[in-house]
Amino acid sequence: MPAQSHSASQIDLQAPKTVLSAEDMARVLDRIAHQILEKTRGGDGVVLMGIPTRGTFLAQRLADRVATFAGVRVGLGAIDITMYRDDLRSQAFRPLAETREPAGGLDGKLVILVDDVLFSGRTVRAALDAIADLGRPRAVQLAVLVDRGHRELPIRADYVGKNLPTSVQQQVKVRMLERDGSDAVTIVGPAEFEEGHGE
């Protein structure tokens, strides 16, 4: 996609700005883990379903924290939503990621979807469809590291690491140790707007 031209009234448009450092991210995840315990009254029947790629790492970290804080082992899984996307016709081939159903399935469980960035809400919409094909949970909630706004569907998160006001042209990039070698959330733009990861 060609770079869109915008008025260069702001300075230093290209430089990535760090909005969450590694320490910030750790604190944010601590808080979400506590909130999950509070809101679900001890994490009983909770299953964390990460949306690949970074959502699965986040789900793992949250599960570890919940175990540390409350001694509860919540269910952990992964749900690939590629085949449920609404833009398959217009996008090039995407490789599939792993779907891992936790032992005991999803029926009657409190499923918490975990993703890195909440943007248009289309990924979450796809994930809800994917969940419905796997089983019938008691309820589905949503946890995200960053909510950057610009929703295109009536979807909201139950647990938000950081609310981040952005312009549509900006890109929010989440780096995670497991994949990218370090933890950080940065914001880039508005040089180029690219759809893809992190919407």
């Binding site: 690939d80 085949m83 449920y84 398959l88 016709r89 217009s90 996008q91 090039a92 081939f93 995407r94 490789p95 599939l96 990621a97 792993e98 779907t99 159903e101 469809d129 419905a132 094909d133 796997l134 089983g135």
Partner: protein, 318 residues
């Protein structure tokens, strides 16, 4: 090189190593996603139409494509030459234009003439998938064979580098052999063709594989023995003295299988002539024969092909 697939899948040569591996990876994901789930269906191709255009009899390939398309929520139209306007003399082109006018997104074609899918691809706008054309190619069969080998012998990952595959029998009439030789080479495997001289095509020396007339000397060291069906219906002359003699020299029985390695897999694209190219005992060997597994894997592999070809129309998959 990178993952790239055009609009059609006409030949194994359409696939480079990365694309073939990506297809196998996708098939593996789909296979894992479909097992043990409540709803055995994905919404990916909702509202798309896949036409099965079969000019030749087929059980497993047509059913397999139909199931693959349906599991991806596509609408499937089955069209066989018998009982259609083809028996009234309609040409392939006119049939193709009719299907085009009805708005098909993909046509899966099996035809008795080599090259028919390629011709078809020039007439219609949708994707064309070759499901076997004459004695030319059958790329999805080669893909499902590669998938089966990879799952059994390579832990389901990467390509097939270093694997030794012996393909035995009626190579002359076999589109399965042609597609396999090309794809297996692309994936890094060594291929040995074993057949009587009369059942080897002209120019086989140019193929990227070894050729032998002697089965017994080819078996030691083989990781996979793939038996081909003797295609009686395509034989217009006598290619060997008798079925019995063929079976003695080129048939796989328990005694021959005993000469193979502990891990050697037995494959057959089906339908089998039991007692001819393969003995019933070997075909039903639960440890070595993966013939029914090939059929199962066919559905996942064809889902992957449909998904890859039909995602991102009009987008260059660079």
């Amino acid at each position: 090189m990178s993952v790239s697939i055009g609009r059609h899948l006409l030949s194994s040569q359409d696939l480079n190593n990365e694309t073939a591996v990506a297809l196998l990876d996708t098939a593996a994901r789909l296979d894992a996603a479909m097992t043990g789930r409540e709803v055995k269906k994905l919404p990916t191709l909702r509202g798309r139409t896949v036409v099965n255009l079969f000019y030749e009899d087929s059980t497993r390939t047509r059913t397999s494509f139909e199931l693959a398309a349906k599991r991806l929520s596509a609408d499937v139209v089955n069209f066989s030459a018998k009982g259609s306007s083809v028996s009234k003399g309609e040409s392939l082109k006119d049939t193709a234009l009719t299907l085009q006018a009805m708005g098909s997104d993909a046509v899966v074609i099996r035809h008795h003439l080599s090259g028919a899918p390629r011709r078809l691809a020039t007439w219609i706008e949708g994707s064309v998938i070759n499901a076997g054309d004459g004695t030319h190619e059958h790329p999805t069969q080669a893909l499902l064979d590669a998938f089966t080998m990879r799952r059994r012998l390579r832990d389901g990952e990467g390509d097939l580098k270093g694997l030794r595959v012996v393909v035995v029998g009626d190579v002359l009439h076999s589109r399965v052999a042609r597609s396999n030789v090309r794809l297996l080479r692309t994936l890094g495997a060594e291929v040995v063709l074993v057949a009587p001289p009369t059942l080897l095509p002209v120019g086989v020396a140019e193929w990227p594989c070894e050729v032998s007339y002697d089965l017994d000397s080819a078996l030691p060291g083989a990781d996979v023995v793939m038996m081909l069906r003797v295609q009686r219906e395509r034989m217009t002359a006598s290619y060997f003295p008798s079925a019995r003699e063929y079976s003695r020299r080129y048939g796989l029985d328990a005694a021959r299988l005993a000469k193979c390695e502990e891990h050697t897999l037995v494959m057959h694209p089906g339908p089998m002539n039991r007692g001819m190219e393969i003995s019933a005992e070997v075909a039903d060997d639960p440890r070595r024969s993966v013939i029914t597994e090939q059929v199962t894997n066919g559905v996942s592999v064809r889902m992957a092909v449909l998904y890859m070809l039909l995602s991102g129309e009009g987008v260059a998959n660079e």
